[in-house]
Amino acid sequence: MPQLEIVDLKANYGAHTVLERINLSVDKGEIVSLIGPSGSGKSTLLRVLMGLLPPISGQVRIDGQALDYNDREQLRRIRSQMAIVFQQYNLFQNMTVLDNVTVTPIKVKGRPRKQVEDYAIQLLEKVGMGAKLGAYPDQLSGGQQQRVAIARALALQPGIVLLDEVTAALDPELVNEVLDTVRLLAADGMTMFIVSHEMGFVREVSSKVVFMDGGHVVEAGHPRQIFDQPREARTREFVGKILRH
């Protein structure tokens, strides 16, 4: 049974339809990447999954169970099973690195402090931020902040991690450190849903690539298929443009 299933999902921003009948499935341990031009709905899909934008119709299922985005209790459960890392890191500016990672398990979920802190330090060391536990976000580079954001997402031990263009806001020399961290997660077998422009990285790490355009899924398949032998004309056009250099 797939870990995550998206069935006929549709979403609007006001009168404008941004997602049209999206159908996707993700198995446990799979790494699915979404690519496509700006405005194609990739980030929107992640936001809908996290409950930041309510779907108009369609269904999302985790481990076979359908999710009701209108039920507050279910929303809480959704957000403990899925975690998201944003393009703009969105770290809490008023908290240290360690506090950013531990605040949710301790204050929101009520887990014991010592346990949470130990695990948090472990995670932060894993992403390479073990030396900066007491630093504040505005003292860190973009790449460092993003790695903390990843640790923060992992601290809740989610089943699925959503990564929304996590390197798009970074200076070029900082991109690799974040991609390395994502590679680590992939190696651990974490189920991931990635939206990215880093085509080389996407091709290397994904088990499935989904090309979206205008709110539709145009084509989905193995990276080799999408990049080397795309079936749809639009896919070919997009891949041709981005891989030209």
Binding site: R79, F92, Q93, V103, L156
Partner: protein
């Protein structure tokens, strides 16, 4: 001012600055300060609540949100004097035998709440939307988000204008004299009615307001520079 006036003032000075009058002015000054200080403390507390209510997104809270918005908009657009009259006559109709000070205090609290609610709301909204998003995806409740993420970042932007409002408000309390509250402006009228020259009396009252307001205004500027220096655009 004619020579006669100055002579008259010279004559009155010792009587004017006699013990009882000084005590009278001191009490009046205290009343002025109390009205604005208590008004602003209450205004800050309730204003904060109103602002928090206005920022919720729960559909169930809609009537509360509308009520908070209406209150905030209304009491910022009615002159102090009219609010004072309304409060006075409403309580008169309720046959509540309130002291004038209490009537003024209630009016002051209503107005301060409305203005400060707007300041607080604006300050809370200045915190970037993405902080709310992050908290939401981490399952923070609305109150937890406010308490642990938004307010710690917003208070520096909220405090200077609230203090600035407090300083402004001291001057507004002068209108309470119109319902007989013994604050500074009323003290002036009383003294003038007692026969002291208007120049002396109102000059003194102006000076007293100045001595109360100016140091606080300077402190307010200091607060603003320290807490929320505006970047040069």
């Amino acid at each position: 001012m004619g020579a006669q006036t100055w002579l008259q003032i010279g004559d009155e000075l010792p009587r004017f600055f006699g013990y009882y009058n000084l005590v009278f002015f001191a009490k009046a000054l205290g009343t002025t300060f109390a009205l604005s200080a208590v008004g602003c403390i209450v205004g800050f507390t309730l204003g904060f609540v109103l602002a928090a209510v206005r920022l919720t997104t729960r559909p169930a809270a809609r009537p509360l949100r509308i009520a908070a918005t209406v209150f905030t908009e209304l009491f910022r657009r009615i002159p102090f004097l009219v609010t004072l009259m309304l409060v006075f006559f409403v309580f008169q109709a309720l046959h509540a035998d309130l002291a004038m000070f209490t009537v003024a205090l209630i009016s002051v609290c209503l107005i301060a709440t409305a203005f400060i609610a707007e300041i607080v709301r604006s300050g809370l909204e200045s915190v970037h939307r993405n902080q709310w998003d992050a908290a939401l995806t981490l399952n923070f409740s609305y109150l937890q988000t406010l308490r642990m993420v938004i307010v710690p970042q917003a208070w520096k932007v909220i405090l200077p204008p609230v203090f600035g409002f407090f300083v402004l408000f001291i001057k507004d309390t002068a209108l309470a004299s119109q319902i007989g509250v013994i604050e500074l402006a009323f003290a002036g009228k009383t003294m003038n009615n007692k026969g002291f020259s208007a120049t002396l009396v109102y000059g003194t009252v102006l000076a007293l307001y100045f001595m109360l307001s100016y140091p606080l205004a300077r402190f307010g500027n200091y607060l603003e520079r320290r807490l929320a220096p505006t970047r040069n655009r």
